[in-house]
């Protein structure tokens, strides 16, 4: 890479690079629409109508087993809609599985990057990748115990994959830098932290104590992932900006949240 994205170059977007042409475009736009409106009521009404009439992206798959351990565990959920929990488990499973691939892509960026004295060790990234894989495995086990199919795509898994598809594109694009990828990973880790918190809390409240315990452990590790990614990102930005700051390293371990 001969240029850094923060170098001044020939970015041609924006009206500043073509002020005369842009002025002509704006004059033409005004001439053709003298009475403008910021509202589009017909389109807005159509959207509301269609949103109200649309079916969801999909529904939950039928359980694979209602016998043995699954039946015992689901007894604890009696009177509650187990599918809500299963949908969230499916969502987390898919996110963690993709998370492994995200960190593999980040490792390629790391190997290609010009690193300075920022205290970013390759094995730290490898450890996070391995923990994402471990979390995926935890979710596979819990879903099987609940009689759910861990290979199915639940609706929440699908919608979250759409929401996070941009993160994957950033990591996969050879033109993006290690720093830009850390920024994208921070979005992933922030979302992941919030989701594990909800999942651990939910499992505890419906009486899935063993699962809740595993989820709290995963949450503690995810908090570490976020802290590390933020720390690395700030170190990179500070280095590029040319400012010095003494950052406390992320704590070696975070206490699990109460519950």
């Amino acid at each position: 890479m001969t240029h850094k994205p923060t170098d001044v170059g020939r970015n041609r977007t924006g009206s500043g690079t073509s002020p005369l042409d842009t002025k002509k475009t704006a004059e033409g736009a005004t001439a053709s629409m003298p009475q403008r409106s910021f509202e589009m009521p017909t389109a807005t009404k159509l959207r509301v109508d269609i949103c109200g009439q649309s079916e969801p992206v999909g529904t939950m798959p039928p359980p694979t087993s209602l016998k043995g351990a699954a039946a015992t565990v689901l007894q604890k959920l009696k009177g509650k809609n187990a599918n809500v929990l299963l949908d969230l488990l499916g969502q987390r499973l898919a996110f963690e599985r993709t998370g492994v691939r995200l960190y593999e892509a980040l490792l390629a960026k790391y190997d290609a990057a010009s690193l300075h004295d920022e205290g970013i060790a390759r094995e730290d990234i490898e450890n996070i990748r391995d923990e994402e894989l471990e979390h995926f495995g935890v979710l596979v086990d819990v879903m099987r115990q609940l009689g759910a199919d861990p290979t199915a795509v639940t609706p929440a898994a699908d919608v979250t994959a759409v929401a996070s598809s941009g993160i994957l594109k950033v990591l996969a694009d050879p033109r993006t830098t290690f720093t830009e990828c850390l920024d994208a990973m921070m979005i992933a880790e922030l979302a992941d932290n919030a989701a594990w918190l909800v999942l651990a809390d939910l499992a505890a409240r419906v009486g899935l104590d063993e699962a809740a315990s595993k989820f709290r452990k995963a949450l503690g590790e995810e908090e570490q992932h976020l802290a590390k990614v933020q720390h690395w990102l700030i170190a990179r930005i500070d280095g590029q900006l040319g400012v010095e700051r003494t950052l406390p390293a992320p704590a070696p371990s975070m206490p699990p949240p109460p519950g």
Partner: protein
């Protein structure tokens, strides 16, 4: 720089080679490259796509030509790949859509001015004003659904304002056919122009049919459906201006000449040295294809291909802002309508009116998305923030 296509033989077919890595090479920069680099990339992808489309149709109708067609077509496949893969992954389908409409406006405007046949020049101006309106509608979609500015892609070269309203562009098929040029009398540039614009419009249609259903917003999905339908009409219009009595080999020869002419035009205007090298390389490849087909024509049809080709290429397509020409056309011709093969004012066929009323009877997406829409630098939200401040509703 003049190019004698009868003397210049380019690269022979057996030396036209590729690797996967070079075909999927580095893309252009959406932010840094000139908008006309994207325009040329999109157009040349369309030209190569037409080369494959024509070649397959010809193979289905000509057993004896199947091997030579397949041999050239394999190279065209890899040329199209290398060209199309210049589009960068951060360029969304809607970004590329804005690029397609910029092609349809800027290239068609240049072609309309170089066309010596006044009727065909009118055909190009007519189609151009319709694509000009599509740009306005898609820019409104980009602004009002995604909060992004189409001018960041257009770089100020192309106006964003209403043309002939898309909602009135829907016509019955009999009003989309035009009178073809006469192959025995038409100037070479007339044939090159027709194949170029037909190819561009066909690829535009195919692109919208591919990406339209991937757009999530319901109004956007409808808008892609509506404009894809107009692009189908445009393909109908532009393929009808080509003399259908040309033989298959004559059409193949003119396709290859069109590819030579277009790559040569791209070479003249390209500022990105890496992309320019691709245009130069493929100009040489296309000269190789042209001479290969010239030999076939001599052997199979016992005809002299030099009677059909210009020795020197006409002036290249001009890759520069056509704003003044477009505005002049807009002012003088926006109210034209097509009835049969003619362009008239103040009347339309009953067939077209019935067809259009049916399609628009549950609402018009192109009208809905652009209701009261006026483009402003930095999106209409840049104007709205000033307005809301002046009203004291925000600080």
């Amino acid at each position: 720089m003049a190019l004698d296509i009868l003397k210049e033989r380019g690269v022979p077919l057996d030396r036209q080679k590729f690797t996967w890595r070079e075909m999927a090479g580095p893309p252009f920069s959406k932010l840094n490259d000139d908008a006309y680099t994207r325009v040329r990339t999109i157009l040349m992808n369309g030209i190569e796509s037409e080369a494959l489309r024509f070649s397959h149709a010809a193979a289905r109708m000509n057993r004896d030509l199947q091997l030579p067609l397949a041999t050239v077509r394999r190279v065209e496949q890899h040329q199209q790949t290398m060209v199309n893969w210049l589009n960068p992954p951060d360029q969304s389908p809607l970004d590329t859509t804005i690029g397609f409409e910029q092609v349809a406006i800027e290239v068609t405007a240049s072609v309309a001015q170089s066309e010596p046949d006044p009727y065909l020049a009118q055909v190009y101006r007519y189609g151009m004003l319709e694509d000009f309106d599509h740009m306005y509608r898609y820019a409104a979609l980009m602004d009002r659904v995604e909060g992004r500015d189409a001018n960041d892609l257009l770089q100020g070269y192309t106006d964003i304002r209403a043309g002939r309203p898309t909602s009135v562009e829907h016509r019955a098929p009999e009003d989309d056919l035009r009178t073809p040029y006469d192959r025995t009398k038409a100037a070479p540039i007339t044939k090159l122009n027709a194949t170029t614009i037909m190819a561009a419009e066909h690829q535009t249609h195919d692109f919208y049919m591919t990406v339209g259903p991937t757009y999530a917003d319901p109004v956007g999905r409808m808008l892609y459906a509506e404009i894809a339908s107009i692009e189908e009409q445009h393909v109908t219009q532009y393929e009808s201006i080509i003399d259908p009595s040309e033989t298959w080999l004559e059409k193949w020869l003119m396709h290859e000449a069109t590819e030579v002419y277009n790559y040569w035009s791209c070479v003249q205007g390209e500022g990105n040295p890496r992309v320019k090298a691709i245009w130069e390389r493929f100009l040489d490849y296309e000269l190789g294809h042209l001479h290969f087909v010239m030999e076939l024509m001599k052997r199979v049809e016992k005809r002299d291909p030099t009677q059909l080709l210009p020795s020197t290429l006409p002036d290249p397509i001009r890759y520069e802002s056509q704003r003044d020409f477009v505005r002049q056309t807009l002012a003088g011709e926006v109210d034209l309508r097509a009835v049969g093969t003619k362009f008239v004012r103040g009347q339309e066929s009953q067939a077209t009116l019935r067809y259009r009323d049916q399609l628009n009877s549950e609402g018009s997406p192109s009208e809905m998305i652009a209701e009261g829409y006026r483009w402003a630098p930095g999106t209409e939200l840049a104007d709205r923030v000033e307005f809301e401040r002046s009203e004291g509703r925000i600080q």
